[in-house]
């Protein structure tokens, strides 16, 4: 059989079609490699979007657009009246409490929890060791000393060292209250941290203070020698 080629235009169209087939893979590979605001394409909607409200979603029926309704001003949820001022404010008989509120006991677990929560919420400014040298504090101080003056109105006050003699005198209840409601330029954290966790943080802060102001006599005798070796 003699092979003869079809007319040129046909070969040309065929080659072009084959080339065209090679384009989509490149386009897809490029799409996969580049983030883009127009992604999340739904080809089949199935029941992906349902007429219901999920947490923090939008409900256009309310003026503020919130599907989750904030509690009405002046109302108090059950158990949140703050009647136990020891628990909610850290106050006993008009003075700062020195003890944990009823139902909480000092334990290793409590301090561990306090440390974990401290490292999440407090260390940003106060630093892991409590010396007021957290990353946010460092950056804010840098902004304050910019050669061009404080950047965009920054007005930062050096975060307090928790080992400041004044802070070391704070009773447990006062530390709890500061964590809850803030003090001076520090904001309160009652919206971000549970009551029990704020107590755990207050307890941990006192443990941290003790750890940074301890003498060798505070160390149990059986581990003193090991500690001395480690320091050397």
């Amino acid at each position: 059989m003699i092979v003869s080629l079809p007319p040129r235009w046909m070969l040309f169209t065929g080659a072009l079609a084959a080339l065209a087939l090679a384009v989509p893979p490149f386009v897809i590979a490029r799409v996969r490699a580049t983030p883009d605001p127009n992604r999340a394409v739904h080809i089949f909607f199935d029941m992906d979007f349902q007429p219901k409200f999920r947490p923090q979603s939008v409900n256009p029926l309310f003026a503020d657009g919130r599907a989750q309704r904030p509690s009405v001003l002046g109302t108090v949820a059950r158990g949140e009246a703050g009647l136990d001022v020891h628990l909610s404010d850290g106050v006993v008989n008009g003075k700062w409490a020195d003890t944990l509120p009823a139902g909480m006991t000092m334990s290793r677990e409590l301090l561990d929890r306090g440390q974990q929560r401290y490292n999440i919420y407090c260390s940003a400014c106060h630093g892991y060791g409590g010396y007021g040298d957290g990353t946010v504090n460092k950056r804010a101080m840098e902004l304050m000393t910019n050669s061009a003056g404080p950047a965009n109105g920054t007005s930062w006050v050096q975060a307090k060292s928790l080992h400041d003699p004044l802070v070391r005198e704070h009773p447990l209840g006062m530390l709890f209250n500061i964590a809850s409601n803030g003090i001076r330029t520090m904001a309160g954290y009652s919206a971000q941290i549970d009551t029990a966790d704020r107590w755990a943080i207050a307890a941990y802060v006192q443990a941290l203070q003790l750890s940074q102001n301890a003498s060798i006599q505070d160390v149990p005798p059986e581990i003193r020698d090991n500690l001395k070796k480690e320091v050397k």
């Binding site: 059989m1 003699i2 092979v3 003869s4 080629l5 079809p6 007319p7 065929g14 087939l21 989509p24 893979p25 897809i28 799409v31 996969r32 580049t34 983030p35 883009d36 605001p37 992604r39 999340a40 394409v41 739904h42 080809i43 199935d46 029941m47 992906d48 979007f49 349902q50 219901k52 999920r54 947490p55 923090q56 939008v58 503020d64 657009g65 919130r66 490292n119 999440i120 919420y121 940003a124 990353t135 946010v136 950056r139 804010a140 902004l143 950047a151 965009n152 109105g153 920054t154 007005s155 930062w156 006050v157 330029t185 904001a187 954290y189 919206a191 971000q192 941290i193």
Partner: protein
């Protein structure tokens, strides 16, 4: 009128047609599997947010823990987007005049929420629970990627059913100790041995379901 004769080259038509019939279905399957996969259609979704908040700065450079802002993640199904108050904890004092913070200040003054755009979306018949995962050894990075390196957040994983099941059927290598749960730089697969993964699986009593009703209600 002379008789029509097929030209000699038409002998090539049959092999060409056979070749096309064999290739085109393979091509179509490839196109659907590769092109219409959630890895193409979903991954990389990077909407422009109302406020140019940088996770690379806050979670990366400053090293803020994810939970500083996303407070409900250990307790609830939904990992909450922070209240404007959380921004203002610091930004009352840090760069309060920055034009980038204008919408935050506006929200703080009016009490109206900032219209953040949700990136990671599941179909609304799938019920994912954050607390069930982060309190039992599945870290943030497993589903969200290196958020601490993203100037603008994008979706890093397909979040498809097949992708969920991959881990539900073989969770071991994605487990990490709770102390590293929000540590995005900790690579659980590389840094822990198989026996350590096994120990975590026992400790957390991980026995994931792949029943429909586990996620679909």
């Amino acid at each position: 009128m002379s008789r029509f004769l097929f030209p000699r080259w038409s002998n090539l038509l049959l092999p060409t047609i056979i070749l096309a019939a064999a290739t085109i279905p393979v091509y179509a399957i490839f196109f659907v599997a590769y092109g219409l996969s959630p890895k193409t259609l979903e991954v990389g979704y990077q909407p422009e947010q109302p406020v140019p908040y940088s996770h690379a700065l806050h979670a990366g450079e400053l090293g803020l823990d994810c939970r500083y802002c996303h407070t409900s993640v250990e307790k609830a199904a939904h990992a909450s987007v922070p209240a404007t108050q959380t921004c203002m904890n610091c930004h009352t004092h840090i760069r309060p005049e920055s034009p980038k913070l204008a919408k935050i200040k506006e929200s703080y003054a009016t009490g109206l929420p900032v219209p953040w755009i949700r990136i990671h979306k599941l179909p609304e018949f799938a019920y994912f629970n954050h607390s069930a995962h982060v309190s039992r050894g599945v870290g943030c990075v497993s589903c969200h990627g290196r958020i601490d390196k993203m100037e603008v957040v994008y979706q890093n994983e397909p979040l498809s059913m097949g992708w969920c099941l991959e881990c539900h059927r073989n969770p071991d290598k994605n487990l990490r100790p709770l102390s590293e749960i929000t540590n995005l730089a900790f690579d659980a697969t590389a840094e822990l041995s198989a026996s350590e993964h096994q120990a975590l699986k026992t400790k957390f009593d991980i026995n994931p379901n792949d029943n429909c009703s586990t996620c679909h209600r």
